[in-house]
């Protein structure tokens, strides 16, 4: 248990340090100029005066709660930038904390209007929600284990792996490695705790989360291979029309700037984790898919060696 507490404390301290160092630059100054939108923000959204956005609150550095109880993270910055474009005020966002498990139900039952919740594209999800075509970061499934643990996915055969419910992980194991016993938990914290207690031989997640945990713990390593990559995007309810177009054009503007890189520097203090995460984010010159890449990890059972 103390390992996780140490992880949380490290996160809080790191968050404080990076927040202090970033004070010199205002958040608004990191947002690129407002693009010439081809459509108006729909009247319903504009008259609300603020966006209702579902975000992660347990997923540093993308979406988490800081020591002051505020929503912070790369995806929170994205939400603020959208509000800045729409209402001229980055604070015009009503945040709702969602988990992997309840984010889509929150959207389709209208508890939130937009999801910016580290949600990867899957074919099944795309039947229920409308992804914003422009995606803003990539990920792939990998696992973290102890230094003497299994090196690659093939070595997980017959073993127990912990992960989070509601992600792409359980369905992937069920489809591609049915002989792996998967322990599903509600949060990354719990999945990591189960791994740290030796209940599982590895924690399976993705390359946007595990490097941060690896950097803050000792005696662990990442798998030498990973599963075919997937893409992360925002989502709205199907038939959102102009809202989808408007959000897409906003993300295009942000993707063509160093907005996420600056946000990463504010939200992740560990250099090794920063380096791993930068490879996942969109920024100019970075080879990111620019269209709705209909590729998802649950579409492939192939393993790819990690660099």
């Amino acid at each position: 248990m103390h390992i996780r507490n140490g992880f949380s404390v490290a996160l809080a301290i790191a968050g404080g340090l990076v927040a202090a160092s970033a004070k010199a630059e205002t958040f608004e100054s990191t947002i690129p100029a407002k693009p010439d939108f081809s459509v108006q923000l729909p009247a319903e959204a504009a008259s609300a005066g603020a966006f209702n956005i579902g975000v992660r609150c347990d997923y540093p550095p993308f979406g988490y709660i800081d020591a002051e109880g505020k929503n912070v993270g790369i995806e929170i910055d994205l939400a603020k930038a959208l509000a800045y474009y729409a209402f001229g005020d980055a604070s015009k966002v009503n945040y709702t904390c969602v988990t992997s498990a309840n984010r889509i139900p929150n959207l389709i039952t209208s508890k939130v209007d937009i999801l910016i919740a580290s949600m990867g594209y899957t074919e099944e999800r795309s039947k229920t929600v409308e992804y914003i075509p422009q995606l803003y970061y990539t990920y792939y499934i990998e696992f973290m284990t102890t230094a003497d643990g299994p090196a690659d996915f093939a070595a997980l055969k017959g073993q127990t792996v912990s992960t989070v419910m509601g992600g792409v992980y359980e369905p992937w194991f069920e489809k591609c490695m049915p002989d792996v016993n998967v322990l599903g938990f509600s949060t990354v914290d719990q999945a990591f705790e189960a791994f740290a207690q030796g209940r599982s031989i590895a924690i399976a997640h993705d390359n946007t989360v595990l490097p941060g945990i690896l950097a803050r713990t000792q005696g662990n390593k990442l798998s030498t291979d990973h599963v075919a990559p997937g893409y992360i995007g925002m989502a709205v309810r199907p038939g959102s029309g102009d809202l989808t177009t408007w959000l897409n054009e906003a993300v295009v503007a942000l993707n063509n700037s160093d907005f996420y890189v600056k946000s990463l520097a504010r939200n992740e203090s560990k250099p090794e984790a920063q380096a791993a995460l930068k490879g996942a984010l969109a920024y100019p010159g970075h080879d990111m898919p620019i269209a709705s890449a209909e590729v998802s990890p649950d579409a492939s059972c192939d393993f790819i060696p990690s660099k």
Partner: protein, 219 residues
């Protein structure tokens, strides 16, 4: 409402497997919680030195804290003391300890409700305290406490859904996972409600029939 019966039929093997685990852990926990409650009620009723205070503390602890926190403590907390259970066993222990605490007071209340004249009569007949407890008080106390023990048994069954928090793959876990994968919310939530309602009603009916069978006029 977009409700697909064929989806429900397709999902049944997954839901059925979850239901089987829910029933197994609930049945085990209900039986163990009853036994634990009976033993602890006897200790409290007879004011067994030292043990009565331990039982008092146990009952207060488990009635005053949320069952989910208890499950977390058993599953995630105890390993730091070198005690480790898998999620199935941890779920059963959590439900048993929680239900046992309530059953202790339910059965003790049943013991108190047994007319004192019966104990006096058994003493007059030469029964010692243990024999009086075994042959007179406990059988009557169990009959009296059937309704309240039934309530706790139904609560144990329903609370098994909270064990999703410690990764126990029960009925709610199965349904929730199907929701995540297919987003058929209505079908899954209605199925969950119907299954929990049906089984709770069945437990309640069985307890009523039992109460009628063992009813003793005047007690």
């Amino acid at each position: 409402m977009d409700f697909s019966l064929s989806f429900l039929i397709e999902s049944w093997p997954v839901l059925g497997a979850g239901l089987a685990r829910t029933l197994a852990v609930s049945a085990g926990s209900i039986a163990l919680a009853f036994l634990l409650g009976a033993v602890c009620a006897w200790i409290r009723h007879e004011r067994v030195p030292v043990l009565t205070w331990i039982v008092y503390g146990y009952v207060e602890l488990f009635r005053s804290t949320p069952i989910l926190a208890q499950a977390y403590l058993i599953y995630f907390g105890l390993p730091s003391l070198g005690i480790r259970f898998n999620s199935d066993v941890a779920a059963c222990i959590a439900l048993t300890l929680w239900g046992g605490a309530y059953n202790t007071e339910n059965i003790r209340a049943g013991m108190i409700a047994v007319p004192p004249g019966l104990s006096e009569a058994s003493s007059a007949l030469g029964f010692d305290r243990l024999k009086t407890m075994r042959l007179i008080i406990l059988p009557l106390a169990f009959r009296i406490s059937i309704p309240s023990v039934t309530n706790i048994s139904i609560s144990i069954f329903k609370s098994s859904s909270l064990m999703i928090g410690i990764g126990f793959h029960e009925l709610t876990y199965a349904a929730t996972n199907l929701i995540y994968q297919t987003f058929r919310i209505s079908e899954m939530l209605i199925s969950l409600a119907v299954i929990y309602l049906s089984i709770s009603t069945l437990i309640s009916y069985a307890a009523r029939r039992l109460a009628q069978r063992v009813h003793v006029a005047g007690v």
